[in-house]
Symmetry: C2
Subunit: 342 residues, 2 copies
Amino acid sequence: MGEFDVIKRFFLRPERQLARADCVALGIGDDCALVQARPGTQIAISSDMLVEGHHFFASVDPRALGHKALAVNLSDLAACGAKPLAFTLALALPKIDAAWLDKFSSGLFALSDQQGCELVGGDTTQGPLNICITVLGEIPLEKGQSQALLRSGAKPGDDLYVSGNLGDARLALEVMRGNLQLEDAQFQLARERLERPTPRIELGLALRGIANAAIDVSDGLLGDLRHVLKASGVGATIRTDQAQAMLAAQSALRAALAKPSGPTDTQLTERLWLGYVLAGGDDYELAFTAPKASRNAVAAAAARARTPVSVVGQIDTELGLRLVNAQGSAVENHFAAFDHFA
Amino acid sequence: MGEFDVIKRFFLRPERQLARADCVALGIGDDCALVQARPGTQIAISSDMLVEGHHFFASVDPRALGHKALAVNLSDLAACGAKPLAFTLALALPKIDAAWLDKFSSGLFALSDQQGCELVGGDTTQGPLNICITVLGEIPLEKGQSQALLRSGAKPGDDLYVSGNLGDARLALEVMRGNLQLEDAQFQLARERLERPTPRIELGLALRGIANAAIDVSDGLLGDLRHVLKASGVGATIRTDQAQAMLAAQSALRAALAKPSGPTDTQLTERLWLGYVLAGGDDYELAFTAPKASRNAVAAAAARARTPVSVVGQIDTELGLRLVNAQGSAVENHFAAFDHFA
């Protein structure tokens, strides 16, 4: 099987050509794909690259990998409030493994179909396994103004929200690394979050015109939040008790940490647990800010998007990032954001 | 240095933010970039991935690599007649090497600035060296019809043209592999073509409304032409004598092949030489078809684009691809297109 056979067998779906989104004027099979933006819209674009051994284990289910490769890109569209339109896939493969490709493409297309985001082109080549996806999304203009959610709009006094849960992906990773033990049901829950993250597209769309700023949490909340603070020229305070409540598997983690195989020192336990939530990485939730006066609007948007959101802190005039506990006392910040080269 | 330092030091150019193309509403630094298509236009999109050891040698000049990574993508825009707008860069690096990144980015930006194609976003991660670029270009609509040059428009009786030269990139590769010897001046000429290809953007733009079909020659003329023939439902005949004249370094090659270190059998010599031209790969020229009645228009377009073009054959009603010599006798086709997995 050669590269064109791979494209034809696993990535061309002629039956989809008719059902194709209006925006795709020309899909796979020419030098370029052609995408037609609707009048009064902008195109949002983002690229993410996943490398074996860095972003995923070689043993990962290829279906989950196909899902995740697209999901992490869609998460960037969600953070801008963009509606997914189309994507390109560039794939370096060590060899052609039909069973692997079949599963990978089925995981990819399940999410692509669910989100109405069409594969329009790309590249297939030999090399160490590497998956690079570029997504295009649509952002409406209103009176010539972009409705994109940006990192730069956070205002002092804004509530700081996070969607869904934080920390479970890292928890699964630590179990897979042999650093922690969890009951199987709890591990599977956490692993699902690591391997099959849910891009918060609906929430991003619902927050247009409501949130002042947004970002997707991929390197850990504290690290990603710093980008928002810097772009907006503001600071923030995070309530560690509210943040800790974001861990879905917290009861399991509590039990795991209390076992002889886990750390027994209470402070260390707390620090580990909070670290997963605040700086675990691979969460693909949205962190966003909105005025306190918009709490009802945020709650309604979250309900429309069927996505839970929680307040974990607030935006301050004072620059920098502070952690405080339920009593308002400062909590030391030991937590480093994920850096691929650190 | 971490990943954000890499972006800031080598890829953010704040002084460019003001001079930025009109189409770029938001560049590097948010979850997505925002691109604004002008009314009455389509967006052309293409992705290409370059992998060390497959697309380039580890020893390549990083400046040339930066140029080539963007050039091969721009070549796809050229083949559609698209005007370059913007690109994303996803980069996997084994380690952070400031000297390498400095040269790589300078080669990349020299071409990007020359073509008015702005870097708007991307990804930086650790992994085996891999460069994935996605380009966006603009195609005008006329009365709602796309002006893109497609693979599917070739008509029987059309002239088959190729721009510039073919075969020199492969010639350089064979010298670098130790399979051939060339005088240094000739090798440098061929190597320049391998490492710093010229995307034929101006020619693609000039051919809108004139050419019936176009493709960029990246895997070798015969292989790429087959995509045009298949998409158009036609066949073609190539004149091997006209094709052979496309090799810029042909005199040098002739001399090299006559030397004791080269093959001495005349038939083998001919076959090698023709093979480089017809199936060498990495040429990044345009192959295109146009009605015989448009020869003056093609010549004028080529002159406007300051790009030489040559007729190397014609499109036939009879399916399949035929090679004939100057006397019209059939030449056997031994030449396989480049396939990354063959």
